[in-house]
Symmetry: C2
């Protein structure tokens, strides 16, 4: 994409009234727009980041046989009453409204109940199990406070998956495969090294549920980390029983700030008992379905990546999620410079490499500042000087210095194939 | 995809309480699930149809230089008050709710006001114009009645695009390019032949706006069609002035039922005056921006396609929107049959041809009925009989009879490349 055509522009000014670093930078770089506290729209570059994260998550959910669908925002009161979760005293993040005829409807903050209602139509035998469905859905939650930018929104995109299994063993096997799929996701988006499977409180059916917590100075959570065993536990379950169960000592734990980038939960047969969801097993007996629920905040992951890697110059995207791989800055409009820059842009594009081509009539300093603020992994500069010596200037966003490279080196570094 | 793994199943029973043909068939075929009147979730095959339509629309909007973004569902009261559209007396389809602090918020039924608010930050000069942005967004509208299945939802996916232009001439040039882009979309999804650019009432700035109306027996609209001139007008503007303006006689018009699959509108400078959105022209003068708005209902297009082409056996998808191109039915589980069917499945998949592989242990009659109900463009049957003679049985969904073809003919007919 040519920057002369992109409608967004960067801003040097920190947006007023925005205290979170991720939102400040994303707004300054033109990735997002704040509609109100905790409610952000995603502009072209921001949407590209979301799509990149979505693609990775979709691949990993498909790899564990998840089947994609899309549920609705509008929720009828009745199905949530069957499990007691319509009541604002039980669930305090509902947005609710009314149809013209006065009937109550809620705006979906989660989807366990409607998923069960849907799957009831299709699942009746052990032959239908296990089955797992997922969606990328815009959830609405009436959060009291929303001060962490896109790390905690009143409106946000979540991947939520639900598994239906025949018994505890089948559930556990699937649940463990999802833990591995989640690890793949965090590895691929660049958070793997700092993301810990964290023991959290379970429910009636399991001692623990699991959160995926990424170390992050501005995260809203606190976890207790055992670096040696590569596990963490959260505050709720920091007690003698849990420590004993996990075979760790309290003084081996390090208290760190973190952000919850995923959580997975075993509902056991709790919900299917309340909603009367059964199947027939091999012996012909009616049994309740086991339900697992697996959340992963797409917009939150984007916020955490933005927040964690940013430096004093701006955003720093890992290649897999960056809106483009290359920031191509053309300095000046000398014919030879324009020609070489246009050619490189076309070759990169033809090779499937996403490029932001800074073809604007602005100063070099502004272009460099924008390349840094936007956080594009590689910056290539073409100027009268580079053309004269037959070289290109290449700088990784994370490198201290640019270096002069030949076309051959550039081709290899950027993956040009045409 | 193998049907033995797909969780949805077809049903022979017309769903109770569903009067619209499109929703009846889509529910029976397992494409959608009804959450409540006018609110449907999209199951894997339904989601594939939506994605196919979305991909086509995205390509055509990109072709007219549209830049994709995604706005929010939650809408602050204030920006809609500036144009008088917060009031329920002016806009009667609002769903409204409240934040914890009591502040009013609406759920987006359209996005002109927030788009202007966003674009104000980026557009200030004639050099920034024209610019056009679009999104695929889930809109919520509190419709009094919702009896047309996915053709009119309380929750539905819409592509809405907004153009910002410097003056009437620049607006008109862009507006006309969108008319052509819309025609491309309807052609590609299979509705082109029956879709008419329809003159509807304009606003303060233009005599007419334009609707795209598709002939459809169960549509909610009535239009007056001039087949000779290939245009139509809607009831609002059926008067002597309009007829004169368009150079047609009342008795040349045919009254037909139709469904509105798109509409485009010139707001002129109305909204930018109300919201004080100006730019500096080449002479250094402040001028109000011209706004165009271009809607296209993604879920409605799916509903109209379903409704229009269905026959007494079920759905009939045009190839471009079908969830798969081929329904591969394997009859029986003789080793040679399984081997040949597996091989064909793999070759089709490797060629990028989407296949529903019916590898289930069900009767031939059931497989044929499902192939018809699901509406997949081509059905291929592999049985003991076809294997014995070295042929394949091929039937287009719209053909009366199946025919025996050689592997060579099959390869050509289905676009197998590997």
């Amino acid at each position: 994409m040519k920057l002369s055509q992109l409608f967004t522009k960067t801003s040097k000014n920190v947006p007023a009234g925005e205290t979170s670093r991720n939102a400040q930078l994303l707004i300054q770089a033109g990735y997002i727009h704040k509609e109100m506290a905790g409610v952000y729209s995603y502009l072209p570059l921001g949407l590209k980041v979301l799509e990149n994260i979505t693609r990775i998550v979709r691949q990993e959910m498909n790899a564990v046989e998840g089947q994609e669908l899309i549920m609705t925002n509008l929720q009828p009161r009745e199905i949530w009453e069957t499990t007691g979760r319509w009541d604002d005293k039980t669930v305090d993040v509902w947005f609710k409204t009314k149809l013209k005829d006065g009937a109550d409807v809620g705006l979906a903050w989660s989807h366990e109940e409607p998923i069960i209602e849907t799957m009831k139509q299709y699942v009746s035998s052990y032959k239908d199990l296990p089955v797992s469905v997922y969606q990328f859905q815009t959830k609405l939650r009436n959060e009291l406070r929303a001060k962490s930018g896109i790390m905690r929104g009143r409106e946000f995109v979540m991947k939520d998956m639900y598994s239906l299994t025949a018994d505890a063993a089948q559930h556990e096997a699937y649940y463990n495969s999802v833990i591995e799929a989640y690890k793949q996701v965090y590895d691929r988006v660049g958070l793997g090294q700092d993301t810990y499977v964290t023991f959290a409180s379970g429910g009636a059916f399991t001692q623990f549920s699991h959160e995926f917590q990424t170390l992050c100075e501005t995260g809203e959570d606190v976890i207790y980390l055992h670096r040696g065993k590569n596990i963490a536990i959260n505050e709720e379950v920091l007690n003698d029983d849990s420590l004993k169960e996990l075979g760790i000592q309290r003084d081996e734990l390090e208290e760190v700030k973190s952000s919850e980038v995923g959580n997975i939960f075993n509902f056991g047969t709790d919900k299917s008992e309340k909603m009367n969801f059964t199947f027939t097993n091999e012996a012909g007996e009616r049994k309740f379905i086991h339900l697992g629920s697996y959340g992963l905040g797409i917009t939150r992951v984007m916020g955490v990546v933005a927040e964690k890697f940013a430096d004093d110059k701006g955003l720093v995207w890992p290649e897999a999620v960056a809106p483009a791989k290359v920031y191509l800055a053309r300095l000046g409009d000398a014919e030879a410079v324009v020609k070489q820059a246009d050619e490189l842009y076309e070759r990169l594009t033809a090779s499937g490499v996403e490029v932001l081509y800074d073809d604007r009539d602005t100063r070099a300093g502004e272009k460099f500042a924008d390349a840094d603020l936007l956080g594009i992994p590689y910056r290539v500069v073409i100027s009268g000087k580079t053309v004269a010596v037959g070289n290109y200037e290449l700088k990784a966003r994370t490198a201290a210095e640019a270096r002069q490279v030949s076309l051959d080196e550039l081709t290899k570094a950027l993956g040009i194939t045409t």
